[in-house]
Amino acid sequence: MRKMGYLISINCVKLLITALLYTCVCSSSVEQKIYVELNQTVPCVRLLNATHQIGCQSSMSGDTGVLHVLETESDLDWILSSGPHPPYMVILETAFFNRSVMMRMKNSSRVSGVAVIISKTGLAHDFSPHTTCPNQNTGVYSERYGSDLANCNVTVWNPLGNGLSYEDFPFPVFALKDENQTQVIRKCYEDHNQRVNGSAPQYPLCAMQLFSHMHAATDTVTCMRRTDLQNRFGINPEVLCDPLSDFNVWTSSRALNISSKGHAVNESVVIAATRLDGRSFFWEQAPAAEGTVSGIITLLAAVHALYPVTQEAPPPRNIFFTFFQGEAFDYIGSSKMVYDMEKNDFVIDLNNVHSMLEIGQVGLRSGRSLWMHSDPVSRKNDDVNAEVLEMMTRMRSAAAGLNVSVAHPSFTQALPPSSLQRFLRAGLIPGLVLADHQTSFNNRYYESMYDDAENLQVTYPPDLSPDEQLVYETDAAKSLAEVATLVARSLYLQAGGENSSLSNITADPKIVAQLLYSFVIQKNNSWLRSLLPPEVTKKGVNSLLSSGPPQFYIGLGPRVHGPVHSVTRFVQYILANLTGTVTNLTENQCQDPSELSSENKDLFSYFWVSGPVSVNSSSEPLCVRASVRLSEAVSPAFELLEYGSRDYSTWTESRWKSIRARIFLVASRELEMLTLGVGVAVLLLSLLATYFISSKAELLFSSAHDTPTTAY
C-alpha cells in the first residue's frame, strides 16, 4: 500500500509539472462539432433617456430561431404567418431593411431576432434611421421661443428619416458586415432550410442564436436609481448603465489662460464650432462622412489656414475654435460648455462671446452655393440682427474672390439642428450656421452606416498605393478646401482683421486631402501615425490604429473605455500639429514642464508625438507645444443628478455581459421527445428488472459458500 501511495504521489508531481507547462485552453470537441461561432458581430444595443428606452434586447440566455433569408415578399409572409417552424431568425437582405418590414417583425411573436446584411448591393436610394426632426426637444425652439418654428413645422430637416434608431425592439438585431461570414450563414441556410417545391423544409434545420442581453431597462431614471441602490446596499455593486460622455476639443488663435475661470477681461471671442460625432442604428458604427467629417475637415483646414496670419497680424478679437462631442444625442458637448460658461467654470463666459459661426454639413455642395442659416427669433432684437447682417456681408465679401457663393434662405426658417441652438438658449448670440442645404438635408444617409466615403463622393483613381492615395487631391478635397478658405477668411473678417491680409489666407488642399483620407478611408496611415504619441502607434490590442476609417460614435468616455476616444484624440493631435510649435524638451520635461520657466502649462499643452518617419524608417519623437485643450463633454443632467431632466441630454448606454452569435442545427421536437421517452423507458425497465432479479437473487444465484436461508 505504501508503494502504491508513493507511485501516486510521483504521478501527481509529474502531472502538475506537465499541466503547468501546458497553457492552451481547449473547448469541448463536441461543442466544436455543434456550433459555429460568428466572430464578427455588430450588435444594436440599448440606449436610454429620461423617458424611453431604444435599441434592441435579447433574453438572458440568448434568442434562438430557425434561419430564414428574407429576399422577397413571400418570404415575409412565410416568416410572419405561414412558416411551420416559428420562431424565425430573419436574415434580412439590404433592400428590406426599412421601417415597414422592421415594424411588422417587431409586432410579430414569430420573430426571435434579425441579422441584417450590410452591403451596397440592393441598397435603397436613401436610408436614414434617424428621426425626421433631429434633437427637436433640446434645441432652442419650443412653445416659448419661436413656437411656429418648433418641431420642424416649417422645414423638415431629415424627411427621409424613418426613425428606426429610436424604436425599441424586443429581439436582438445584429449586422453582418463580413462577407465571408455571411457566406457561411447562407450556405447553412441553403443546405438545410431551403424550401423544395413550396413544401416546408425537413428537420434538422439550421438555426442561429444571438446573445445581446442588456442590463438596463425602462429609462435613465430607473436605471440610475437601481445603480444607486446597488452601490449603497449591494455587496458586489453592479453598474447597469453609463452616461454617454467624452471630451470636446478646443483651441484659440490667442492662447487663453486656463487657470482663470469665468469672465475673461478684455476678451471678445468669435466662436467657430462644429460637431465631432455621429451615430447609426448599430453600436459603434458611425462613418458619418457627410454628417460630421465634412465639418471637421473644413474647420481643421480653416484653423491651419488662419494660423500664420493670426500670428503675424493678430485681429482684435480672439477666435475660439471648438469641436463638440455628443451632438447627435441632444447636444451633450455644447450643452456642457454653455453650462460651464453660465457657472463661470470655463475660461470665458457668455459675455465674452461676440458671435458664432458653425459649420454644418458642407460636403455635398456639388458646385452650388453654400447657405447661411440664421435664427429669425433672435434677429427680432435689433443689435443681434445688425450683427448677423454684418456677418453675412463679411461672408459674402470673403466669398467674392473664391469659387464659392453663399446665400441666405429667402423665407423665415428655423436653424438646422446645431450647437448654436444651445448657445441661443442661454442668451442672444448672433450666429450663422453654414451648410450645403437650403431646406432639408442633401444627405440621403444621415446618421446611418452608409454615410461613408462613397456618399461624400470621395473616389481615387485605381492603382494608387495607400501613400499615394493619402496625398491625392480628390474633387471632394478640393471642394472642402474652398469651403475652408471661405470659413477662414470670414472668421478673420469677423474677428476684425484687415481686408488686405485676406489673400494670404488659403486652405491647403494637400492638408485637406490627407485629412479626408484619414477620416473616411483609412486612419492607419503614415501621416496620422507621425502626429500621434508613440505608444498609440505601437501595434497591439489597445492600438487606436486598427484598419479602416474611424467611427464617430461618442462612446462612454475614459471611465469605461480607458484612454480618450479615438476621434477626439485624432482631432486633438492634428490641431496640435497644425497650430503648435516644436520644442526641444525631453520626454520627461514634456510630460511635466512646470519646472521650466520658459514653458507655461496654463497657456499651452505639451504633446509627446512620434514625429515624421525619416528615410531609414525610424521616427524621432518630439515635444509639441500648442494651445489645444480638452473639456469634458458630460451632460449637465448627470452633474446635477437630474436624471429626468427635460433641458439637458439624459442619454445613457446600457451595460451587458456578452454579445455573440452562433449558428448550429436544431433537431425536431419529435426526436427530442423520442429520446426522452426511450430514456424513461430504459430507466423504468432497468429498475423493474433489477428489482425482480435482486429480490429473487437467492433463488437465482445460490452458491456453495452461502448457507441457504430457510425459504419455506
Partner: protein, 233 residues
Amino acid sequence: MTVAVFFGCAFIAFGPAFSLFVFTIARDPLRVIILIAGAFFWLLSLLLSSLVWFISIKASNSQDLRLQRDLLIFGVFFSVLLQEVFRFAYYRLLRKATEGLAAISDEDTSAISVRQMAYVAGLGFGIMSGAFSMINVLSDSLGPGTVGIFGDSQYYFITAALMTLALTLLHTFWGVLFFEGCEKSRWWVIAAVVSLHLLVAGLVMFPLDAAGELHITRASHYCFTFIHTARVI
C-alpha cells in the same frame, strides 16, 4: 439539444447502472466502498494512460495528422491494457482485504464473497468509465444545437448514450469474468476478457459511419479533460 435530450440520454446511459446501484449496492456499506474504490482504480488507470499519450503527443510533430491519429489509436489500446492491469491490481487488493474482513466479521468467513466483490468492482469500473465518456456529451446536449452542421449524424447523442450503457454493463460482466478467471487461475478467461475489451475499443476506433468519427475525436478529448480535471485536484 435541450433539456429533454439531456434527461433522455442521461437515463439511457445511467439508468441500468443507477438501478443496479439502488437495488444491489446501496444497502450494504461495504459494497459501496468497494464500488467507489473500483471507480478510483479505473480513474488511476486512465490518468496514467492519458499521461503517456499526452507526453507522446507533445513529443511528436503536431502537424502530422496521420501520426497523431496513429498515436491516438496506440493510446486507446494502451489505455485498455492499463485498465485490465489495474483491474488485476484491484483483484489482488481485494483478495488481501478478504482476509482482513474475515478477521473483523462476526462469522468466520468474510461478509462478502469474491464473486460479489467482482460484480461490484466491475460495476465501479463501468460507472466511472460511463461517466467519463458521457458527462461531456451530456453538458453539450443541454444547449439548443444538435450535432450536424459539419455533416455528422444528428443521432450522435443517442448513440453516445447507448454506447455508454453498453460499456457500463460490459465492464460489469468483464469484472465478474476476470475475477473468476483469477480465482480459478484460468488464464484463458483473462485473455478472453482483455481481447474482448480490445475488440470493443477497436470497434469504436474504426467507425462505419460519421458518428464513429466523432467518437474518436471525443476519445482524444476525454484524455484532455482528464488532464484538466486532475489539474483542479
